[in-house]
Subunit: 584 residues, 2 copies
């Protein structure tokens, strides 16, 4: 096996060009086996095997620096840069992260997990190189799907001005996670169809030099192209035409499903584990499709991740014009929602907590200053969400809940979520966001009669004294468990409160607690800094009540162990009870 001889890029260069296709096949076989057992990003990596080999054959990493966008497609690069064991040996599968990672290797320059950043980051590496008057190539590798993001387009525009060497490899597999959306993809198609010869050329229109490689999975062609642009003295785009999922028939045929996969049977592509539990994606799409049929002005919006709200291909067809995928373009998604709401439509934008960060200014300016009644639903904003450092869902409260005019709601059950969503869609006064709880869906079957238009009205769900527990969203249940323990251990009847509203204080209720309570505790599913609990602490700052805030401390944990994280942050029932008892 060739792959077993590769301990770094220098070993790739020892092979002849004739041997490289065999290396590619070996890498693909290893990737397939690993994915079938371990899961991970699939399609993006299968398409870029040959390009990665060719780059390491031609360029001299780490002197020449490669920046992989999103870094979903960084597995082949890791295999060739001293980390092959993590792909060849099952016991080492977890030795590496799923993204580029400077702590793993000198061949990785950034920890990257959000899209559309590579060109601008690479411009920075190149600029520093030139300021230091050093030599070397800087190569940004970006998938076509990432091109629609604002930062990528800004970066392409700026790159033309940079002056020195910069090579931008456009890995064009004609797919985003789902199909691409946006006018620029017509131009990529035109360029593919004309072997890169069409006069109308997005990259040239951005001021960039351009080279097209039609056989983007042919390692010899790629080597030739990279040799041509190596040490070039100005920025150039190398547009390579690749096949997403290349080499595994199910993935070539069903590209969207195979962008990311869990463990599966290699022979059939069928998943090893059936996901049967109802989740908030199913709940959202079922509600929205029904609502759309009743009201033609209801429209669901996604920014390149349609299944976050459950809109698989068949559901998208069912929704028709009432479903919009703007492509990876979160800023436009929020502005679009604001515009639709301003003109009497009823938009619902569903987005992962980690990606809603990409649109702070649009939420503040385009939406909230204008008080337009759009709805944003944030998914996986929870310690129970993704645990890669680049995809954490711990920050949406501090980011969003401090934006004026926004009503940010935290349901604790499926029923509350649907009641909030329905209220939000029908009301016309406020921009509203809903933070879905983490963990398994809780459904208590109770009818929700609360009028959410009475802003910032919390609900006492268990009446007691001395200790009041505000359990926000995900952690409302934990709040109840704490109350149970206090009853059992201290014969103390604690008050339990469902706050519902992250963005405002129920000052009347909070004031009333002063009468017969000594301690107020808050539990929230996210970072403490800038969070919900701190507002409660501020409210009681000049009173005799003691306040304890529970949540996650400010940091960027990477691939954390959930139970450890909870323990470290005193987010277990036992710890919270003990902390309260210490104060009693």
């Amino acid at each position: 096996m060739y792959i077993e001889t590769i301990n770094g890029p220098e070993d790739v260069k020892k092979l002849s060009i004739d041997q490289l296709p065999a290396l590619a096949e070996e890498m693909r076989a290893a990737l397939l086996k690993r994915a079938s057992i371990h899961g991970g990003h699939f399609g993006p990596n299968f398409g870029i095997v040959e390009a990665t080999i060719a780059m390491h054959y031609v360029f001299e990493s780490p002197k020449d620096k490669m920046v992989f966008d999103v870094s979903h497609q960084v597995y082949p690069h890791k295999m060739l840069t001293g980390r092959k064991e993590a792909y060849l040996s099952e016991e080492h599968y977890d030795d590496v992260s799923g993204y580029s990672n400077p702590t793993e290797s000198v061949h990785d320059h950034f920890t990257v997990g959000h899209t559309s950043t590579s060109v601008s980051l690479a411009c920075g590496l190149a600029k520093a190189r030139d300021l230091k008057q050093e030599a070397g190539n800087v190569i940004a590798i970006i998938g076509d799907g990432s091109l629609s993001g604002g930062e990528a387009l800004e970066g392409l525009d700026y790159a033309a001005e940079l002056g020195g060497n910069l090579i931008i490899v456009i890995n064009d597999n004609d797919m985003s996670i789902a199909e691409n959306h946006g006018g620029l993809y017509q131009n990529l198609k035109l360029l593919r169809e004309t072997n890169g010869q069409a006069d109308c050329n997005l990259f040239k229109a951005m001021g960039l030099d351009y080279l097209y490689v039609d056989h983007g999975n042919d390692v010899a062609d790629l080597i030739q192209a990279f040799q041509k642009v190596k040490d070039i003295d100005h920025p150039i785009v190398v547009h390579i035409n690749t096949l997403k999922g290349k080499g595994y028939a199910p993935a070539e045929q069903h590209k969207e499903n195979w962008h990311f996969s869990g463990p599966f049977h290699i022979e059939t592509g069928e998943p090893l584990y059936e996901m049967t539990e109802e989740d908030y994606s199913d709940i959202s799409v079922n509600y929205l499709l029904k609502k759309m049929k009743e009201d033609p002005t209801v429209v669901a919006i996604t920014s390149g991740t349609p299944t976050v709200m459950g809109f698989t291909e068949d559901k998208r067809q069912e929704a028709g014009k009432q479903f919009v995928d703007v492509g990876i373009a979160e800023e436009t998604a929020v502005a679009l929602a604001s515009g639709i709401a301003a003109n009497g439509g009823k938009p619902v934008y569903g987005v992962y907590s980690t990606f809603v960060q990409r649109t702070y200014d649009q939420i503040s300016q385009d939406l909230c200053i204008n008080s337009n009644p759009a709805t944003i639903v944030t998914f996986w904003g929870s310690v129970f969400g993704m645990n890669d450092v680049t995809h954490l869902g711990l920050y949406d409260i501090s980011m969003m809940a401090n934006i004026p005019n926004l009503v940010y709601l935290a349901p604790t059950t499926k029923e509350e979520y649907l009641a909030m969503l329905d209220w939000s869609i029908e009301q016309t006064d406020y921009p509203v966001a809903i933070k879905l709880p983490g963990g398994s869906v809780i459904s208590d079957g109770k009818e929700v009669t609360k009028d959410f238009s009475k802003l910032n009205t919390y609900e006492v769900t268990r009446h007691g004294s001395r200790v009041a527990i505000l359990g926000l969203g995900t952690f409302y249940g934990l709040g109840n468990e704490v109350a149970e323990s206090l009853k059992k251990e201290n014969d103390l009847d604690a008050t339990v409160i469902n706050p519902y509203y992250i963005t405002g204080l129920d000052t009347k209720l909070l004031e009333s607690l002063k009468k017969d309570h000594d301690i107020v505790i808050t539990i929230e599913d996210g970072m403490l800094d800038g969070g919900f609990g701190e507002k409660i602490a501020r409210f009681y700052g000049d009173s005799d009540l003691k306040v304890l805030n529970f949540g996650v401390r400010k940091e960027f944990p990477d691939r954390y162990d959930l139970n450890e994280l909870l323990k470290e942050n005193h987010l277990t029932k036992e710890q919270i009870v003990a902390d309260i008892q210490a104060l009693l």
Copy 2:
């Protein structure tokens, strides 16, 4: 005078095309007089007078909806939509805001002040129109300078997919606030030079239909063009070639200086009031130019507002390759800074507080997860900054100070600022941001010997007991005044503390205060929610100390009166002292 007869768009239509140039001249004369007395955005409005007349001549506002990007260029539109008195009568100059404003008129659809939003917002209006199966044109008017922003490029890309009617007017005056930066401007130039005929066309490459109007200040040509695209059934770009500052010689010649102007002598263009006071822009540019000469890896970065850090044209030339203007592209500015720092350069990105909002995700992901040692300096993040609702500087603490890994510093004097800046540039461990204080520059001439690498170490500058005052940044001086008053009125020696660090707690010092203090107060220059004071309140939540937080409540005030705002938020010495006395 024609302008006196115009009470709405319907009155524009009553004039003959021959009469419209005279109307344009009258409007320009009124704009000139108003600007000379009142100040405001100048160049952008002077260039778009004819286009605005032509649009109102051809389209039927408000059924047809115009969305002005940034809305710096909205004055002529306001003159033609029932608000002419605000431009003709000195006593009514303040009746209108400087931006489009739905509360003023049904002809305005959004409050807009940040760039690059119009296309995406207009897409939303158009989408809602189509969902409601209504008719009407939607027109986005965007300046060439705004095109480099990510949201604008995302919007152009998405617009091609929208399907129905959308008209995107590109007001191309070949200028941003300063000169344009980015490769796409070469393409605009090519299009201007070829009368729109060049095959390589950015807008067509984005999938859009395209029409070019060479005489963008010729009202008859414009009317013809708009008539051609009115009621079109798909999105189209109308690219109009205009002259920034058109009709006023000093403004035509010095476009950058005349983007915005204070009051001036009409005859000479000389400003009425001399600005002689040293400000943080001067301080920054003087320091940085000196530093650049000592160290070729120091590089200053701006995103389209070079003078925020004092880089006027001559200073930009002096800095040479050590000054980078990425154009209006804040996301790329931060990513670039991160990349430069990752490769051993020393980047300093200067940005207005209100615009740093546009790059939350890049600060979090591209910069802070990677812990690259770039420096961001935020200007005008203060109640003493801009007071238009779209340009407030009240939110940067809640946005930035809760991002893990970032060290956000609050200097209280010029000397502290320079010491922090110098430390930040030379250290290699942390991403650092510096929040400049508002109001007049305070310089005490004291040498700053503090070692800022000892993170989160506050300084007690006045030793006392019972009451401790944490005066952050701008309001450190107010903290001292409060202490003086307490001494005078209550014979109480309060402790005064300069926290320096917004992003972390000096737990040792805070703990020590418990010994002999009863009350801790915080004063910060920004919104309370998610701010510095709440972290202090959380820290003392389980203790007997009382905490009072002073800052601005969460809202979007518009064109506020500074003294009223301070009073409403208890940010005067008298109120703070009274609040403390009530607790003593």
